[in-house]
């Protein structure tokens, strides 16, 4: 678009065409977002008789502060290290250090995020907003799993659906169906499916294994909750990406397939050498869209787990909403959103940078 020809040199017309759309976006997205950024620098409450005050980056530091605490094992009178039942060293409780202890000013009010042993000592990584840290990790985990899996499944479906079979349109519609249904509705339905005692999933698995399967409390178990939500999210959105893949598939020239066939390529070789390379641009788009959707994970959590059990399904957007609306701390919630925005922005810039390099 460097060209500046008579054909396209039209300042006023250009503005006239763009301004309704662009103006609305400025008014209803950009300005509110700038306001949100402004909120994040104050102690604005959702409702309060007190006027907001500028607090600088306090909301951010409260959220992102981490510290390190090195703890010596407990020692008995004779100087021996105390050992618990399992033979591990016993350490004093961390609340001793983090609560009203002026000797450790840098970890006041913090909670243990995770810890590891360092010789005799225990090194604990402390976070001032532990829930947010978990939300951050969960969100990244969610993205890291959902993006590739959903992308891959969508691709497989697209390949299936790309066959020239009679009635394939019907299957296309069916696979796309979950996309059409509101995610709130879908989440409600899946709560029944995931139920711990007699949910559908458990009974199906039970039947399939002839009763050998032990019922799992899918949403109530720390180890399975996030995974279950991932599975459902993939189920819901995979049809959407299937369609995008399909469009990519249809841009690959059929003669390339014929050539590969004549050269004697197996189906897998055909995929590896013809299909996949032909989908590279599509892949970039799919990854970007999935990533953005995954980062804004909210409705599923809100309806299905409220972030539990034990914060194993906390996510950034859910936290931001919980903080901003539930706890009326609109400045804290805004700060989280800004952090999320910056995170996604940097990831997509990185993605763009990487893909540009290769071309």
């Amino acid at each position: 678009m460097k060209k500046n020809s008579i054909l396209t040199r039209h300042n006023t017309t250009g503005w006239l065409f763009a301004s309704p759309g662009f103006g609305l976006m400025l008014l209803f997205i950009v300005i509110p977002f700038i306001l949100a950024i402004a909120f994040s620098l104050t102690n604005q409450r959702l409702m309060s008789p007190n006027a907001a005050e500028f607090v600088g980056l306090e909301n951010y530091t409260n959220m992102l502060d981490v510290g390190i605490l090195v703890v010596d094992p407990e020692i008995d009178a004779s100087g021996n290290i105390l050992v618990d039942k399992n033979g591990d060293n016993k350490y004093p409780r961390l609340r001793k250090f983090t609560r009203n202890n002026p000797d450790y000013p840098n970890v006041q009010g913090m909670k243990e995020w995770f810890s590891f042993s360092w010789g005799e000592q225990k090194v604990a990584i402390m976070a001032s907003d532990l829930v947010f840290m978990k939300a951050l990790v969960n969100t990244l985990t969610f993205v890291a799993f959902v993006a590739p899996i959903q992308g891959a499944l969508a691709l497989i479906l697209a390949l299936l659906i790309n066959q020239p079979l009679r009635g394939i349109q019907i299957f296309r519609s069916i696979y796309f169906m979950p996309v059409v249904v509101s995610i709130v509705v879908v989440s409600l339905l899946w709560r029944f499916i995931y139920d711990g005692q007699n949910g559908l999933l458990n009974s199906v698995l039970n039947t399939l294994t002839f009763g050998h399967f032990k019922a799992v409390d899918w949403l109530g178990n720390q180890d399975t909750a996030l995974g279950s939500i991932m599975a459902m999210s993939i189920w819901q959105a995979v049809g959407f990406h299937m369609i995008i893949w399909l469009s990519g598939l249809q841009t690959i020239s059929p003669t390339l397939y014929e050539a590969a066939k004549i050269e004697g390529a197996s189906p897998w070789q055909t995929f590896r050498y013809v299909t996949w390379p032909g989908l590279r641009n599509t892949a970039v788009l799919v990854v970007i869209v999935i990533t953005m959707q995954a980062f804004s994970l909210f409705a599923q959590i809100d309806v299905m787990t409220s972030g539990g059990p034990l914060d194993s399904t906390q996510t950034i957007v859910y936290q931001a909403v919980e903080r901003g609306y539930g706890k009326q701390d609109i400045s804290g919630g805004s700060a989280m959103s800004v952090v999320l925005f910056l995170l996604v922005l940097s990831i997509s810039l990185l993605q763009r940078y990487l893909t540009r390099e290769k071309n």
Binding site: T255, L256, A259, K261, I262, G264, P277
Partner: protein
């Protein structure tokens, strides 16, 4: 390296019959060209040989073995497509070696065979480029290289040159011709460019509406077309057809005339005619010799368009009865539009239909 037989090959799409029982015999090492108007079924026939389309009826044998139900890769064929069908994300080397890669040929052997093929096609310096960095002709060469490297029994080409511009087309045509001589392989070539057909083929198969019109060497077809269709199809500009009435005939000759042609005596052809019959004369534009004015010659008309190409002049001539003929003169001559001219022709070179 292989001979092919097509025995009453048929192809139906649903209830439409596209190929209507085609018989062709192709000998080992022969260069066969399929020509015919667009939609006549050339590609379909070729693709059936390749195994890309099911054969609806008849039998296809390669080296005496029926291959109707064999997968493409098991037929020992290689194919070069009009759109090249080279893989855009692979280097030339990878493209050429693709068939070997997928069939698991050891690396050393692969390298060697790719190099050999590249040498034959004089594209060793291109091996590490990507298709996007190649010109059209070079791309087509890559496609051919990919075919060569596998040592197929039969090469199939589907209009391999029609995406190239005129000059390049001429070069590549010559290269394919040389390649055929060098490899001595059986080749089947589809085109609708008659120059390609004439220059490349050992044997031309003229198709129309899924039926074979004539099979023979280029000169056989050119000089002895089996029917009007074949006659009109080969040669450029295409043959003029003029309706005449038989005035008289004997064992050796036929005398004909019409409103626009003075009575001429033609050598007798192997065709039964009766006096009063309307027959058609076929005269190639190159054998029509125009002269200014109505001086001599047996046809008369007006120049409606004259195209001077420097070494050749093409005339559009409207005859007295409104029909048109084209004359082509192999030198630069000036004719005025609307000028009256008369045309001579060599009675030996006239075809009768």
């Amino acid at each position: 390296m292989a001979d092919l037989q097509l025995k009453s090959i048929e192809k139906n799409y649903g209830s439409t019959r596209i190929i209507k029982g085609v018989d062709i015999d192709i000998k080992d090492g022969e260069f066969v060209v399929f020509v015919g108007p667009s939609g006549c079924g050339k590609s379909t026939l070729l693709r059936m040989i390749a195994g890309l389309e099911d054969i609806s009826g008849g039998e296809l044998t390669i080296d005496g073995k029926v291959v109707n139900d064999l997968q493409p890769k098991d037929r020992g064929i290689a194919m070069v497509f009009q759109s090249y069908a080279i893989f855009p994300h692979m280097t030339v080397r990878e493209n050429v070696g693709f068939g070997l890669t997928v069939s698991g040929v050891p690396k050393d052997e692969k390298v060697q065979r790719v190099n050999e093929a590249a040498q034959i096609l004089q594209m060793e310096h291109l091996l590490d480029r990507r298709p996007s960095q190649l010109s059209g002709g070079q791309r087509q060469r890559v496609a051919i290289g990919r075919a060569i490297v596998r040592n197929p029994k039969v090469f199939l080409f589907d209009e391999p040159l029609s995406n190239l511009d005129a000059a390049l087309r001429m070069d590549m045509r010559m290269e394919i011709s040389k390649l055929h001589k060098k490899l001595d392989a059986t080749m089947i070539y589809v085109t609708h460019d008659q120059v390609e057909a004439m220059t490349l083929a050992d044997k031309i198969v003229v198709l129309k509406d899924g039926e074979v019109q004539q099979i023979g060497s280029p000169m056989e077809l050119f000089h002895k077309p089996a029917n009007r269709f074949v006659a009109g199809f080969l040669g450029s500009p295409s043959m003029n057809f003029v309706k005449v009435k038989v005035v008289a005939h004997d064992n050796d000759s036929i005398t004909v005339s019409s409103d626009v042609i003075d009575e001429v005596v033609l050598p007798r052809h192997d065709r039964d005619v009766a006096v009063g019959d309307t027959i058609e004369l076929g005269i190639r534009p190159q054998y029509l010799e125009p002269h200014h004015g109505e001086l001599k010659g047996s046809m008369h008309g007006r120049v409606s368009l004259s195209e001077r190409l420097g070494t050749e002049t093409v005339l559009d001539i409207t005859l007295a009865d409104g029909n048109k003929v084209i004359a082509s003169i192999s030198e630069d001559k000036v004719f005025e539009v609307d000028e009256e001219i008369s045309l001579c022709f060599d009675i030996e070179k006239v075809h009768i239909f």
